[in-house]
Symmetry: C2
């Protein structure tokens, strides 16, 4: 098989030994797998040949992009597996500004897609922490979320067309740049978010948007979660689609950032409020109008007592500093001791009740554990993490992970939520799905998998057991 693969992609692009090793684990060091080799095809036709070769030999195929995933979805598990690297599928094939679309190959870095759009005077709005190293193929495979979802949607909402290599090694030429197309079943949305288990996305046609003409960032100090939801509702009504981010941060998260990174400063006294929010307003007019709108909406929130204080970034540098506070939370959290992480979603209307009851249940079971809560309030998506109590060791906490999972995920379900909001399932949550999802839905998913990948060679052991 290796000979066949070398003939397809060239010997230099079949990796084994030392060059294979770094691809066998995830960046968080949580998963360690094995594989026979990795291959780097440079065209959809070569991907199709690789898929057919693997199918003939019964070898599992594991697609991998930037390998920045959080759920082990790109880590191979089988000694016969072939890792399919999308690195060389990295062309921007087309930008059509009059149609507001860009067509890119799966191995393009998300940052490269953003940059190509910007160079054409457009915005590609998908934005997340790993954007400098993750690939758009990985974003599509996991239906990645990020900070701009409340305005522009998840990756699925940004995709119009796909090119996919099927498990049979055929190419579906579905790169349509159409806002309306009802010629049959929506195959596109099945592949998006299927984490490489149904086929390999090799390219996509994505939506572009006009660049905002002005942007304003504000940091808000909030007396309660209920107040945060009230400000969000006010901002939605007042800014309309101009509200492009609404990030929630518990006081402990910003206290940790300023403690571990003392060069970063909060614009408030450190104990001003129990909750903070980073709000971003994007305007299609000009700087003066953006400023006036922000003052109007925030002024009303302050007057209503929904916000205790508001700091508006006076410069691009200060806006970056506000975002930097938000983005530093995971690093500060790491310094506090490894946490038990949850990527949960609930309806925005249930956020406050969810946090209150889940915090209480955890404190009752494990007194003193710390609640590291932050995330995308506008989408009802929280990174609800549980850090060791002061004096508690990492290992001591991590031993409790199953019980902590039970409490948090049980509470998520009681509030009509999702146990995997934006990071996907991968290996991490595969065995939780049957417990928390509708049995009919699990059966439908298995039917789909069997229909599209009957030999079960596409990224086996991910999403479904």
């Amino acid at each position: 098989m290796l000979e066949e693969l070398r003939a397809i992609v060239g010997a230099a692009h079949v990796l084994q030994g030392e060059s294979l090793a770094p691809l066998l684990g995830d960046w968080r060091g949580r998963y360690h797998g094995q594989a026979l080799a990795a291959v780097r095809p440079d065209s959809p036709a070569a991907v199709a040949q690789v898929v057919r070769a693997c199918a003939r030999h019964g070898a599992p195929l594991v697609p991998q992009g930037g390998n920045t995933g959080l759920c082990g979805g790109a880590t191979p598990g089988d000694a016969r597996a072939i890792v399919l690297l999308t690195t060389r599928l990295n062309r921007v094939r087309d930008i059509d500004t009059a149609n507001d679309t860009i067509t890119v190959e799966a191995g393009c870095l998300l940052k490269s897609v953003q940059d190509a759009a910007q160079a054409a005077g457009r915005l590609f709005p998908l934005s997340l922490a790993a954007e400098g190293s993750c690939t758009i193929g990985g974003n599509l495979a996991t239906n990645a979320g990020g900070t701009q979802v409340l305005r522009y949607g998840n990756t699925r909402d940004l995709a119009l067309g796909l090119e996919v290599v099927t498990p049979q090694g055929e190419i579906w030429h579905g790169l349509r740049g159409l806002r309306k197309d009802n010629t049959g079943y929506c195959l596109r949305d099945i592949y998006i978010g299927s984490e490489g288990t149904l086929g390999i996305i090799t390219a996509a046609t994505l939506k572009l948007y006009p660049q905002p003409r002005a942007q304003r960032t504000a940091l808000l100090a909030l007396p309660s979660l209920m107040a945060a939801v009230a400000v969000l509702e006010r901002a939605r009504a007042g800014f309309g689609a101009g509200l492009t981010a609404f990030e929630l941060m518990a006081a402990i998260t910003l206290q940790a950032v300023t403690h571990y990174f003392p060069e970063q400063r909060l614009p408030f006294a450190p104990d001003t409020a129990p909750w903070y929010a980073l709000l971003e307003f994007s305007d299609s007019e000009d700087e003066a109008h953006a400023q006036q709108r922000l003052e109007t909406v925030l002024g009303a929130a302050l007057e209503a007592g929904e916000a205790q204080d508001a700091a508006v970034a006076g410069s691009v540098a200060q806006s970056r500093a506000f975002w930097h506070l938000r983005e530093s939370i995971p690093l500060a959290e790491f310094r506090m001791g490894k946490a038990i992480k949850h990527d949960i979603g609930v309806p925005v209307s249930r956020i406050a009740a969810f946090v209150e009851t889940t915090n209480a249940a955890l404190q009752a079971a494990f007194p003193g554990v710390r609640h590291i809560i932050f995330g995308h309030l506008g989408d009802g998506n929280l990174h609800y993490n549980v850090a060791p109590a002061v004096g508690q060791g990492e290992a001591e906490l991590l031993a409790l992970q199953p019980q902590v999972y039970d409490i948090v995920h049980g509470s998520v379900m009681a509030h009509g939520g999702s146990i995997a909001a934006e990071h996907g399932v991968g290996q991490l949550k595969r065995d939780l799905l049957p417990r928390y999802k509708d049995a009919v839905e699990m059966d439908l998913m298995r039917r789909l998998k069997a229909a599209l990948d009957p030999d079960g060679l596409m990224n086996p052991g991910k999403v479904l057991a």
Copy 2:
């Protein structure tokens, strides 16, 4: 079987004879089918029982909502078929304003969903000509489009969760009101747009939006299609997400409206321009700001020569009059003699080239036929209809339908487009699909159908042969 069905839904809700007859054809009079009976279940559990009864007896099931479809998707074709009416599944189950969601049953009229949202101070933005008589279930089954797609997307983009009865008579409880949920394959988007061929949607959780605080409508006279696209691009950049409609109309369509309905008036001389557009701007601020923005953006378009003239509605009544002009086009078209209709989509960047080359090809083949072109320019979606030449009879033209289809659909494909943009496939375009779609895609669609509906009893003969 009829006894079983009566036991499930009650004898009064099993229709035959005279009460069945009107359900056996479409409203345009294009399709006439047959069926054994129609049933009106009033709960998802009853729908599931009906599905199981039909499965036991091998009877095809044809869901029907408002029966306003344009492609024969709701017309039964088999004497053993059971028509499943969603009429009694008509409850608004929940409105959650803090989460901006509404949960409704499939038989709710679209207008009822809009009204329920409005009563709660929110907007449900799906809007189309049949909204007073079509059902949200039909909108979901066909992934309906309409006039607000350039801002809010198609029906699929407005749905968060579904409740579906599978062909096995099980209920998938998928009514999630979540903006982010990556717990497996996106079943939701397979059912949406599948026209009842994979299961029966019984309820949906849909997105709501803030109501605009001010709205402005303008009618523009445009020197060319290229100019229309330029104004669209300018409006997108200048209004951002405030641009909620951009409807294109060829001069002949408005001339026909004012000819057949002389009480309607154009705000311009009748031969001002070859093209017109209806532009709608929705603002999250106030009337004064909306007016100022409109003047700024339209002023620039006039100055650049992209628009020859612009009439801004000065009142709600005038705005309605402008929309009434647009909505009267199909009626005026009907008076001109039955046309050969096309519901096509192409990238916005290809619209002008598509119209120019297709018009020329049709004139070369059938001199004198008239091009009744109007539609949703913002989505690249045109109703590109071909009316008889002056003096040509309807029958004479309709006999040429296969050749006209060939020219128009061939041109659509050459321009990277779709032959069924917003009306769906139904029976009308079923046999065209294999000709114009990727063979791999057709194969994937057949695999899906076989996997989810192995007995082929769900709306047979629609979408796929």
